[in-house]
Symmetry: C2
Subunit: 184 residues, 2 copies
DNA sequence: CTTGTTTGAGACATTGATGTCTCATATGAG
DNA sequence: CTCATATGAGACATCAATGTCTCAAACAAG
């Protein structure tokens, strides 16, 4: 059986998502390979985590590119962005969480670039008059991560249907909780 | 120096918030006590984590009680709730995150009760007509945790001023991002 | 088929965290 | 002051995870 790097990383992420202290034996077992092979490709836990980060950032960057954040209205772009994150939301939640709890030496630069792109989207919406201007783009970016992560966890635990993912996040984020009279 | 249990737990939480794999030596050092004393009061890492959970749940329950979720409008109650979580937001973020990544055998029952109380608040707001009804109270509860945690991290990292905490969370959650014509 | 490469299984030593113990010192109650 | 108790510092054994190695078997390329 040929070695499938991405498959191994996905299995590792799935396992580490709910058991962050999993052993390399456990990770290897979850991926269906031997510990020796795991160690041949990822020399140590740190290397594995870094590879995991790289894959996550790569996937998320694809998602961001695919959402075309500069096209159309900022509102539409935000909806596209959230919708395209759905397939990688679990991975994203894991990475965002892991970044907090295991403060690495330096923050991945790809991650910082994604942050900047999303913050720029919020800023664009504010400058175009679509979004309120009393919430900082940097905080909005983190708030979006928070909502996406929280939703990903609830989907993983079965408390929420995956099909409601985009509606819930964009519904709350754009429209807010308050009920309003129908727009004229 | 007498042993200050809560102080030790707070120091442990602060440290573990950004270094989840901290050693007992490091935790003891951070708390200003010796490893021997730490081990006398918390026999092993698991015991420490459980004590941490208990303290967190106790604090959060106090906060929830203090916010009087049943009084006045649901909107006002939500604002009170968020405002009173501010002092314990870091702790809350740590616990919520830790609960995901280190899936304990059973979920703390006090935690489940708090969940239920907050979900009941959202339900009350929906039934009174204040809140929109197309977002489930369970998910809204998790979304609130997500926003609170995300904001707590940004405050801890200095990206956001603590004084904006309540405004940002309630501003986004209640009003949403879309800019609207002033209410008539 | 033959050859070179990769994997799986397991043994082994090493490392680091942990649990446990002792003893001197500090602290507080009486 | 005196005694009982708790703490700090450190030694020590233990245990789990890790890194490293060997060797046989599976596999792919030629």
């Amino acid at each position: 059986m040929p070695f499938d790097r991405d498959h191994v990383l996905r299995c590792a992420a799935d396992l580490l998502s709910h058991k962050a202290t999993a052993t390399q034996d456990e990770i290897a077992k979850a991926a269906g390979i031997s510990r020796a092979t795991l160690h041949r490709h990822f020399a140590g836990r740190d290397a594995l985590i870094r590879a995991l980060e790289d894959l996550g950032v790569r996937q998320l960057q694809e998602v961001v590119d695919q959402a075309r954040l500069d096209d159309g209205s900022a509102t539409e772009a935000l909806v596209r962005l959230v919708e395209s994150t759905r397939p990688v939301a679990g991975f994203l939640a894991f990475l965002a969480t892991e970044n907090q709890l295991f403060e690495g030496e330096e923050v991945n630069e790809g991650w910082a670039r994604i942050d900047a792109q999303i913050a720029a989207l919020f800023k664009r919406g504010q400058e175009s008059g679509e979004f309120r201007i009393d919430l900082s783009p940097v905080w909005l970016t983190e708030a979006l991560y928070g909502l996406v992560s929280a939703t990903a966890w609830t989907v993983l635990s079965g408390k929420t249907a995956p099909r409601d993912y985009t509606e819930m996040i964009t519904g709350l984020m754009l429209g807010g909780l308050e009920r309003r009279a129908p727009q004229p």
